[in-house]
Symmetry: C2
Subunit: 225 residues, 2 copies
């Protein structure tokens, strides 16, 4: 088994959600069967949306510093349970050198292709930065149309989760965003912000829902076991 | 806020339980209000019970190496959400040097004194190593009698949790252990194994229940905020 290094804190609750799901998905009959996971859950990395708008500093220096610290501590595989931060994956991969990085974008694209074979319209429940960086546009390629939620309504839901609100109103509002994407033609919904699965799941939609977090869990296990 | 370093993996689910409770207990209106927490969740540290029986290697070298790695990564406060491993707290504190260590034993003793003022009989839901190392005997002092569960029945429940079983049978069996301690005179129950709160809580007993995990959360926040 390889030691997994986790670049966390974007946000901290989403990082814990990933860690819980990674633990639950690991086949284990005792403590020793679980992965060795080193997590730097730093909630004060620079805002990804502001950076993408050129309205704030880049999170890359913090991500790069964490990569170095995780590798120094023994990490043999690096993951980052935050979709938007993958806009700086190039800097991350350069810092990691020979240590492999498991991309949440690659994992989620593969999971969508399994859940909705041949789909041409993906509803992307992701923040501004993820859309603006075209992470999933590039990940899926030209044959897939990416449908975006109403950012003026969607972004406050993510900040609500970050403020600790995962109550029924926030859940209902996220389900409404998803329903609007389906009404606009989405054949599959991709929860591509790690806060989204905290308030939205397969039972909340009429089309298949893929969680990028779950996809990263599966890909992390494949890389580490 | 100080960066918290967590010596985890004993066991890995208990470490996640601590992290979730630390997150939930932190007053926060956004990501940035949460603590920066670096966790080395290493589930393959040497078995504490075997080491205490002189029947296996000591976990101290692994704990000491993690202390050094956490401090190198930026930790300014060290915690270890495992009661039994506090038998090696001396080695840990020596390795940490000027970086403070928040003891789960000190935190739990203080919490019991608040929950059950003047108590003289504490039911200690803790593994063999914790009893044999007399961590809580020494923590409470001579005025408090420590009552131990039936280890032949108690230890398999901890291993069941470590194997992922937190179902009703395991919960009922832990409640029966607690009830036996109350029948033997325990005025308060101290869940002093970080696996215990995963299957046992205040609603499962007729006397006050103190969770050492919760006490460590409170003490960690006090040290870091």
């Amino acid at each position: 088994m390889k030691t997994v290094g986790v670049i966390g804190g974007m946000g901290p609750a989403a990082t814990l959600d990933f860690l819980i799901k990674l633990h639950a998905a690991t086949p284990a009959a005792s403590d020793a069967d679980h992965l060795h996971v080193i997590t730097d859950n730093d909630p004060r990395r620079a805002d990804r949306n502001a950076a993408m708008r050129a309205d704030g500093p880049s999170p890359a220096p913090s991500i790069v510093a964490t990569v170095h610290a995780l590798i120094a501590a023994g990490a043999e595989v690096i993951v980052m349970p935050c979709n938007a931060a993958h806009a700086w994956a190039g800097e991350l991969v350069a810092a990691a050198g020979p240590v492999p990085f498991v991309s949440i974008v690659d994992a989620a694209v593969a999971a969508v292709r399994v859940a909705a074979p041949g789909t041409t319209r993906v509803g992307l429940l992701a923040v501004e930065a993820t859309h603006e960086a075209r992470l999933y546009h590039d990940g899926f390629g030209a044959d897939v149309t990416i449908l975006a939620p109403d950012m003026a309504a969607f972004m406050p839901l993510i900040f609500a989760v970050k403020a600790g609100d995962t109550g029924p109103d926030v859940r209902a509002a996220m389900a409404a965003q998803a329903a609007a994407l389906v009404a606009a033609g989405a054949e599959v919904l991709l929860a591509a912000c790690t806060e989204v699965p905290l308030i939205f799941g397969p039972d909340d939609a009429t089309v298949p829902v893929v969680s990028a977090t779950d996809a990263l869990v599966t890909a992390t296990l494949a890389a580490a076991l």
